[in-house]
Point group: C2
Chain length 226, copies 2
C-alpha cells in the first residue's frame, strides 16, 4: 500500500455503469441512454457516470443516483453489483475502473412512452455499444440467466400480482428455453417464495388464475447440494 516513489502511478478514473432489464411485450429489454457528452456523444450506451467521491456513500449509491438521474426510474426492486472492468483503453479518457451494476425493473414501473434520450431495446439484436459496454451487457445477461436457474430473480420483472403462467413465462424469457409446467409449479411451490393474494383471481374467457405476490422484497435463492 506504499505510495510509489517513481511517480509513475496515476489514479484511475472511477465510473459506474448499470445494466437494467425489463420485460416488454414478453421479451427481455435493456435500458440505454443517448450520451450528451463526449466521448461517444450521441451514441447509445449504458447509463453511467463518475463516482462523486464525497457525496456518494459508495458505488451502489452512485449507481442509484445515476439510474434516477439518467433513466428517471425510481429504485429498481432488484439491483446488485455485477463486476468491475478496468484497463487503459476501455475509456478514451484514460486508465479507468468501471464498477458495473445489474438490475431488473417490472414493466409496470416503466412509462409507456419513454422520456427523450432513453431507449429500451430487445437484448437479442443490440447494436454495438461504446466503451466495453458489450462485454458488460454480456456478463449481465450471463448473471441474469444464471440466477434464473436458482433464485426468484425473474419474479422481480413482474408487477406485484402475477399468475403462475406469467411467472413461468418470465423464467422462460430470461432462460431462453421452455420449462415443464408441472415441474415448474412444484419447484416454485417448494421454495416459499410466492404467496397467493387471497381471493384475487384473473381470467378472460376461461378459468380464472390465482394471483400471487412475492413473499419477500429480497431475492430468494433455492437450495443446492453437491
Amino acid at each position: 500500500m506504499e505510495r510509489a516513489a517513481d511517480g509513475h502511478r496515476e489514479n484511475p478514473i472511477v465510473t459506474v455503469d448499470s445494466c437494467l432489464f425489463t420485460l416488454r411485450l414478453r421479451r427481455l429489454h435493456l435500458f440505454l441512454v443517448r450520451r450528451d457528452n463526449a466521448p461517444y456523444r450521441g451514441h447509445l450506451a449504458l447509463p453511467g457516470g463518475y463516482v462523486h467521491a464525497p457525496a456518494d456513500t459508495d458505488t451502489a449509491a452512485a449507481a442509484k443516483r445515476i439510474v434516477e438521474t439518467k433513466l428517471h426510474l425510481e429504485a429498481p426492486p432488484f439491483i446488485e453489483q455485477l463486476y468491475t472492468f478496468s484497463g487503459p483503453v476501455r475509456d478514451p479518457r484514460g486508465w479507468s475502473v468501471a464498477v458495473a451494476y445489474m438490475g431488473v425493473v417490472p414493466q409496470s414501473q416503466v412509462p409507456e412512452r419513454l422520456p427523450e434520450g432513453i431507449e429500451l431495446l430487445p437484448v437479442d439484436g443490440l447494436p454495438p455499444l461504446p466503451f466495453d459496454h458489450d462485454r458488460i451487457v454480456e456478463k449481465a445477461l450471463q448473471r441474469l440467466r444464471n440466477k434464473a436457474t436458482y433464485s426468484s430473480l425473474p419474479a422481480f420483472l413482474l408487477p406485484d400480482g402475477f399468475t403462475m403462467a406469467e411467472l413461468q413465462d418470465a423464467y422462460e424469457q430470461v432462460l431462453g428455453h421452455p420449462l415443464t409446467r408441472t415441474t415448474f409449479r412444484r419447484r416454485i411451490g417448494e421454495q416459499d417464495m410466492i404467496e397467493e393474494i387471497p381471493g384475487k383471481m384473473r381470467g378472460g374467457s376461461q378459468r380464472p388464475a390465482q394471483v400471487y405476490r412475492l413473499t419477500s422484497t429480497a431475492l430468494k435463492e433455492f437450495e443446492r447440494t453437491i
Copy 2:
C-alpha cells in the same frame, strides 16, 4: 459522464486486495501479510496495494503483481474477481475503491517455512483485520463455499495427483460438513472433471488408491437446472 462543474468531485483512491486460501494440515487457511507502511503499520491484513495505472494492464494484473511481490507466490492456479468495496471510511486515507480478488493455492506450492511477514492462519479464528478486510474475507469464504457446491474449485487446493479420498476431504473442509462417499464418487465421475493418472497408485499398509488429476486447468462448473 460529464465532468462536475462544482468542484466537489475528487477521484477515489483505487486499491486491490486479495484473499488467498490454502489447505494446511487438512484445514482451510488464509494468507495475511504484516503491513510495513501506514495506515495500520504492523497489523496483519490482506495483501493489497495501489493499482499502478499506466503499468498494470487491469486490476487483475495488479492483483497478480501484488500477490507475487507481497506473498512471494507464483500465479495461483485459481484466482478471480470477488467484489468491489467502496466508501469514504473503509480506508483512512480517504474515499476509496478496493477491487477484491479471491483465489486458492495448493499446499504443494507453499513453502514449509513462510517468509518473514507472511502468515497463514486458519479461517476459523481469524483476528479482527484492519480496513473492511473482515467483510472481504467473509464474502470470499461465502464465494468459496458456494462454488464448492457446483464446481471443481476445491480440487485447485490439491496438488496434481490426488486420491478420491483427498478430493472428498478438500470438498468437506471447504463446505464444513461431511459428504456421502458413494454419491460424491458418482457426482464427480459424471462431471468429466478429473482423470486417472494411468497406473499411478498410492497407499500405505492397505489397498492403494487410484491417483487423479484435473482434466483442465480451468474451473469446471456442474450442470444445474431450474
